[in-house]
């Protein structure tokens, strides 16, 4: 099986998709809240340059994205290895160099990549308004827009989870989006 075909098969595998979804949403949630915290904190700290806010946030995105990929790679390696050892004990044979091992590896790649993409989206999207400060929008407006984008991203995550679990998608979306407003509010009331 070629690597590309293997990765495509992993993307279609419901077990791999389910685990990837969890990592993507969980780390995307972390990233979005971090981004909201950074932009509100930057505004309250008196930073006036939009690109500086963007650069600080981007540093966070690199950190969270790397963490997402690296940690999931190691977590899934350990989990799958434990699972394989149980199966090998029952089979009385090793499963290295079989389709079972190759599928685990491809599934791990998909899990790790999705885990890294989540925080990248969550951090970078809210930062985009700061790229057009002060030419298009003021710093205050960019901060408000960043919080709004962050809340929208969280709402989307929640609505998606709601839609796959047959909940009311807008209620699930509001529940997740609320977290963004809470983070922004806490930052505002904290002494800076």
């Amino acid at each position: 099986m070629s690597r590309l075909r293997g990765l495509r098969a992993a993307l279609a595998d419901e077990d791999v998709r389910s685990i990837s979804r969890r990592y993507f949403i969980s780390n995307g949630f972390d990233g979005t809240l971090t981004s909201i915290g950074v932009v509100v904190g930057a505004y309250l700290s008196g930073i006036t340059d939009g690109l500086t806010v963007f650069a600080i946030g981007l540093g966070g995105a690199v950190g969270l994205g790397t963490s997402g990929v690296w940690s999931v790679w190691e977590i899934e390696r350990a989990e799958k290895q434990a699972e394989t050892l149980r199966t090998e004990a029952a089979m009385l044979r090793e499963l290295d160099d079989t389709i079972v091992a190759r599928r685990d590896r491809h599934g791990r790649v998909v899990n790790a990549v999705m885990s890294g993409i989540g925080p990248l989206i969550g951090v970078v999207l809210p930062l985009l308004p700061f790229l057009v400060v002060p030419e298009v929008v003021s710093l205050e407006a960019a901060t408000a827009a960043a919080v709004a984008i962050g809340v929208s991203v969280l709402f989307t995550f929640g609505a998606y989870l709601g839609s796959i679990s047959k909940q009311r998608w807008y209620v699930a979306g509001v529940r997740m989006g609320l977290a963004g407003l809470v983070v922004a509010a806490i930052n505002f009331v904290l002494p800076t």
Binding site: R86, T87, A89, A90, M91, L92, R93, L95, T98, I99, V100, R103
Partner: protein, 98 residues
Amino acid sequence: MPDMKRLVLDVLKPHEPDIREFADATSRCDGVAGVNAALVETDREVQTIKLTIEGDAIDDDAVEAAVADLGGSVHSIDEVVIGDDLIEQSDTPQDPHR
């Protein structure tokens, strides 16, 4: 060796890949015309399946390699038919279910 016409294998396998993949992979081996895969037993970690493979000249090494690549183990070879004709086993008075 004359051509192998039928091969029946008792295979122990992990739950995944599933039985369809074993049937599919073995059916693609040289000399195989068709495969019947039947679930015999399911345990917590493994399953036992019976593969009945027929063809004009079954490449049994390729079949065993396909089973192994899917993570399965051939526990026993339960039936082999070799030669020009497909010969069924004959009943004997000792058979329990005549």
